[in-house]
């Protein structure tokens, strides 16, 4: 069972986006999103399956024709490529959160491409405008946006917009989160699972039906808990959040173990439950406003999350790809934090979805060498 569970979880992380366009019936039940700052509970409550656009090495010629270079991350290029080539023509909707300028601009571009007739067969393209400021006004605004998105999705589904169904979806997702936390607990100071193996199991949370995810993740955790701790330098990946295994694989190829990543697809994405409240919309909006790891999350909150990951770390890899406009500004603070903790780090500049560049591989090797020295010292 557990091997099958792991395989199913891995497939649930890797396959849904690339599978769009193959099964019209499944597509019609699918909502495609660009980043996990959209509450998947709203998608589930409307009866849809959430799928996230993911970075990859597939060429994106149609997208490259309408997206400026170095401004949009790979995952958005893949999403626009799918939109322009008709691969998402049958899905219920595309939802882009305001989690970064590129995500928002992608929303505007898709709308404009549809208006100009360049993208002829697009489903409804929706924006989820989540603000991260921790003020009463922003919280109320976010709750209204969650209500609005819920109404739009249930309308697309032809279902009533019911708070009790949303509360149930929240409770189900929380059970999935608990299972994901069991998996993530197998990492840390005595890791029982490699990062490149853990990330898909954790990331599948976002795309699987919640009960199924909870069942599979618990089974996988039971099996993996019987393993032996892995050897190698323990590395935390931070900077621009990763959405693929590429960086983990490059680091672990050098004999290290990635024990955490500052990414919603990793353990950070499921570290806290959503409150099951009488009015589920403010609870949901508050959770995502506070917990979503994206380019607009306030720096203090991001630093707090990073600090929580560092206890098990012997080294830190920071990803700063050329399309980054935000995370690089955190570098002085992160450098100071890591200096206080005497944790060595390196900065990689390649596209974390496109394969590690030679220079980045060399930086990883140098880091792991220095981490070994620190450890011996």
């Amino acid at each position: 069972m557990s091997a099958r569970a792991i395989a199913e979880l891995r497939a649930a992380f890797e396959d849904p986006f690339s599978a769009l366009g193959r099964d019209p019936a499944r597509d019609r039940r699918t909502v495609l999103m660009s980043w996990p700052s959209v509450p998947i509970e709203l998608v589930h409550a409307a009866g849809f399956l959430p799928v996230f656009a993911r970075g990859g090495d597939a060429a994106t010629p149609a997208a490259d024709d309408v997206l400026e270079p170095d401004l949009f991350p790979n995952r958005l290029r893949q999403l626009v490529e799918a939109a322009l080539t008709g691969r998402v023509a049958n899905i219920a909707a595309i939802v882009l959160p305001r989690s970064s300028d590129p995500d928002y601009k992608c929303f505007l571009y898709l709308r404009e491409l549809a208006r100009r007739g360049v993208a002829a067969s697009l489903p409804p393209v929706l924006l989820f405008d989540l603000l991260h400021s921790d003020t009463a006004d922003a919280r109320a605004y976010n709750a209204d946006r969650a209500r609005d998105l819920s109404a739009r999705l249930t309308s697309l589904a032809g279902r009533p917009n019911r708070a009790d169904e949303l509360r149930e979806a929240i409770a189900n997702a929380n059970r999935s989160r608990a299972a994901a936390r069991r998996l993530h607990a197998l990492r840390g100071a005595r890791p029982l699972i490699a990062g490149a193996d853990a990330l898909p199991l954790l990331g599948a949370f976002w795309q699987l039906e919640p009960e199924r995810y909870a069942s599979l993740a618990n089974a996988a955790a039971d099996e993996l808990a019987r393993g032996v701790p892995l050897e190698g330098r323990r590395v935390v990946v931070a900077g621009a959040p990763v959405d693929t295994l590429v960086l983990h694989a490059a680091i672990e190829k050098e004999g290290a173990v990635v024990v955490a990543e500052l990414s919603p697809f990793g353990g950070c994405g499921t570290s806290a439950d959503v409150e099951v409240a009488e009015d589920p919309f403010p609870a949901l909006a508050n959770h995502y406003g506070r917990e979503s790891i994206d380019a607009r999350l306030p720096v203090d909150a991001l630093m707090h999350k990073l600090d929580e990951l560092l206890d098990a770390a012997q080294a830190v890899v920071l990803s700063q790809p050329s399309d980054d406009a935000s995370y690089g500004w955190d570098y002085p603070r992160i450098r100071a934090l890591l200096a206080r903790r005497a944790t060595p780090h390196t900065v990689l500049t390649g596209d974390s979805a496109g394969g590690a560049m030679a220079a980045d591989r060399e930086r990883i090797r140098a880091l792991l060498g220095s981490a070994r020295e620190v450890h011996r010292g």
Binding site: D101, Y104, L131, S133, Y141, S326, G328, W329
Partner: protein
């Protein structure tokens, strides 16, 4: 540097230097507060509450024009901040965080009482957080709800139908954010904002922008451009930073009258004007001579930039019964008109046609990522309108990667091959 053709340009420059000197005296000698703010924050509120406000973008352009930006930016890069990150919004931070790296203009920025920024681009929160930390001062952030509905011909709605232009939930949110800002400013000054005064100020901003509108139409309609783009910018920006004040309205009028006189006398900025160019994007502050470099060789004159045209189309609000709502409607989508599709492309083409533009140079600012978006739509819309486009790779404040000779050669070749033929 090209000679100044207008007296009002000299007056604008003198006013700014005097204004900044007065500010430093107030801060250092009288220990009075000032604010350091993003260009899209409503200055009127600060001024009415007697907290002078310095624009980050104005300061950045000044640092660049004084050729000091490379030293500060090199210090920032040496500190590990990646070169790809936005320079325009951060060179001011660099003059504070790495104060010894270069010589900041006019004695440098004193510590403000408050920094204030709209959270438009992703980097703004981070740049201003670092800046507030460097100054040891407070940061007030204005959250930026995103537009979902973008009427293409937005400028036809701004003056009278602004409640239609800005979605109600965004208008309400931004008005609330401005209320919070007013409360904060009032707690600093102990003054209270008089809404009638605000209404009056916004009416004077309208008046100023109406004058700019008349000036823009003079320039567009004149047989030959009566005033260089660089002088348009100098006059407009000195005025916009103190918009709606007595000086601003008077200066806008002086500028207009001088342009009118030149039009009436048939005076052209460039004798033998053959080609009318537009510059799309922020100004190339470290090399403003670029904008006059093609007059002698090609009779090519830069006629248009966003700076004069944007004020009349983006600022004017009629119907000031609720002045804060009117101000919020301007604040809510302010500079997005310049970058987001379909707003930016539709407006740029309309302006190009009104100004009889022969060719457009479109800035590709490598480090200003959100400002760089939308340009594919702008370029294609211009080309579809029959206006050849030359993309120009440049950073508006960072001259380190700018090759002025190569850039001029590229423009000359473009004019020869695509425009004159």
């Amino acid at each position: 540097m090209a000679e100044k053709q207008l007296q009002s340009t000299l007056a604008a420059a003198a006013f700014q230097k005097q204004w900044f000197g007065d500010l430093r005296r107030r801060v250092f000698d009288e220990r009075r507060p000032y604010a350091l703010i993003q260009a899209d924050v409503p200055f009127e509120l600060f001024d009415l509450l007697e907290i002078p406000a310095v624009s980050n973008q104005w300061w950045s352009s000044l640092v660049a024009a004084k050729r000091q930006a490379p030293a500060f930016l090199a210090a920032m890069a040496a500190d590990g901040i990646a070169e790809q990150l936005c320079r325009y919004c951060s060179v001011g931070l660099a003059t504070t965080r790495y104060a010894n790296a270069g010589e900041a203009p006019w004695g440098g920025l004193p510590a403000p009482r408050l920094l204030c920024a709209r959270l438009t681009c992703d980097c703004i929160h981070r740049v201003f957080s670092l800046w507030a930390e460097a100054f040891g001062t407070e940061l007030f952030e204005i959250e930026h709800p995103a537009a979902r509905e973008l009427p293409p011909r937005w400028w036809e709605l701004t003056r009278h139908r602004w409640r239609e232009l800005i979605e109600p939930h965004r208008l309400e949110f931004v008005a609330g954010a401005l209320e919070r800002l007013i409360e904060r400013l009032e707690s600093i000054t102990t003054r209270r904002l008089d809404r009638a005064e605000l209404r009056e100020r916004l009416a004077r901003v309208n008046r100023q922008e109406e004058i700019f509108d008349a000036t823009r139409r003079l320039i567009a309609a004149a047989p030959a451009t009566p005033v260089r783009m660089t002088e348009q910018i100098a006059n407009v920006m000195a005025t916009q930073w103190v918009r709606g004040t007595d000086w601003a309205v008077a200066h806008a009028q002086q500028f207009h009258d001088e342009v009118q006189a030149r039009v009436d006398a048939g005076v052209a900025a460039c004798d033998g004007e053959k080609l009318r160019l537009m510059w799309v994007g922020a100004g190339l502050w470290h090399d403003t001579d670029f904008y006059t470099a093609f007059e002698d060789s090609h009779g090519a004159v830069f006629v248009w930039s966003m700076y004069l045209a944007f004020g009349p189309d983006a600022y004017i609000r009629y119907g000031l019964d609720d002045p804060l709502a009117a101000l919020a409607s301007r604040t809510a989508s302010f500079n997005e008109f310049l970058h987001n599709p379909p707003w930016a492309a539709e407006w740029t083409v309309a302006q190009a046609l009104e100004h009889r533009i022969d060719a457009a140079l479109v800035l590709h600012p490598k480090s200003m990522k959100p400002s760089a978006t939308g340009r594919i739509f702008i370029e294609r819309a211009l080309e579809e309108a029959g206006i050849p486009v030359l993309p120009v790779q440049a950073d508006v404040v960072d001259a380190r990667a700018w090759d002025p000779v190569a850039a001029r050669k590229a423009v000359a070749a473009f004019l020869d091959k695509r425009v004159l033929q």
